[in-house]
Symmetry: C2
Subunit: 192 residues, 2 copies
DNA sequence: GTCTATAAGATGATAGAC
DNA sequence: GTCTATCATCTTATAGAC
């Protein structure tokens, strides 16, 4: 029902996603988007009245797909450590596909300049992802593979911030994300 | 000699710094800058031929001042842990002054869209800061207050990425940087 | 749904007077 | 050094034909 196959609309969101991940919300224009999809800028407005509408739906779809990815990770891997590693693999995949940031990191940095409705969805994106990760970390600790003090929610925020920062660094220095990710896992699994 | 007191030029760099930290390179304009300093956009071009020149000098000055700050930390604190905490305090200060990103994080995220000369200075900014931090971490480990495996340079990159990610998150959720920073110190000083 | 045409404003940048 | 005036181009967005 929701999400009927409107191919132009989907193509616009696909192109906008890549542009937003590589350049940011402020650095891509309707013209960039129109050129990539092969229509005129006027046609974009038929699908999305304003850039803010486009941005908002972009983040909503990104969150839904990321959460769907997390559910698939849960279905395919039962061990918390493997779940975490698979999640990190998703982020790594974005970098390897062309030094793309996660939308969390990119829109987080641009947060002050985003339209209100986009901001709301970005916050929701953070909370959903960190919530899933808190579950993985909490379960990992209870089975004894992860080791940390305090609230899993707090540690999830810390781990997520670290990964986002690693992706950001990878924009300036290729091959730096892996060092951050591996160090993170080592820390979490460290047997003091 | 270098850096004669050209007050308009300095005022431009000051205003550009705040705008770059809060909005990013792509989101601020010569008009924003001119309005804040009280001159016209044409006058900006007398001091900086292009926006790329302005951006480049902005990053250079930022790096020089940050490194000067690190030297002052070294002079005022001898314990590695206190040095790290003071550095974190500098980042926290930027957030508390108005949810400002570090230029590393903001320009790192925008990296793909930055003019070449600005990119070069951003890389240099990362390297200088991470180099200083590697020294603090290495010394901390040798005196037994920090505990980590592997190369101090690698861990410095990880710690720095984590802090940058924490600042990014703080743009969307106030009061989140402290949780990241405190968790980080706890991890580094943990007595397994 | 997509187009052409157009709008109103912003953008970085230049020429030349003062 | 700073200004006015101007530039070409880009920006998001709208009206109306097809």
């Amino acid at each position: 029902m929701a999400g009927t196959n409107d191919s132009t609309r989907e193509a616009l969101l696909d192109a906008a996603k890549v542009l937003a991940q590589t350049q940011g919300y402020n650095a891509f224009s309707f013209r960039d988007l129109a050129d990539r999809v092969g229509i005129t800028t006027a046609s974009i407005h038929y699908h999305f009245p304003t850039k803010a509408h486009l941005g908002r739906e972009l983040v909503i779809r990104y969150r839904e797909r990321l959460m769907e990815g997390c559910r698939q990770i849960d279905a395919r891997a039962t061990k918390p450590r493997e779940r975490l590693e698979r999640f990190i693999g998703v982020l790594r995949g974005a970098i390897e596909k062309g030094t793309r940031m996660c939308l969390c990191g990119m829109f987080g940095a641009e947060f002050a300049t985003l339209p209100g409705p986009v901001r709301d969805e970005v916050r929701s994106l953070f909370e959903a992802t960190e919530g899933w990760m808190a579950g993985v970390l909490g379960e990992g600790r209870s089975v004894g593979v992860f080791r940390f003090d305090g609230d899993p929610e707090r540690v999830a925020r810390q781990v997520f911030a670290s990964l986002q920062g690693g992706m950001m660094t990878a924009c300036a220095f290729e091959e730096r994300f892996n060092a951050v990710a591996e160090g993170l896992i080592r820390t979490l699994t460290h047997k003091g």
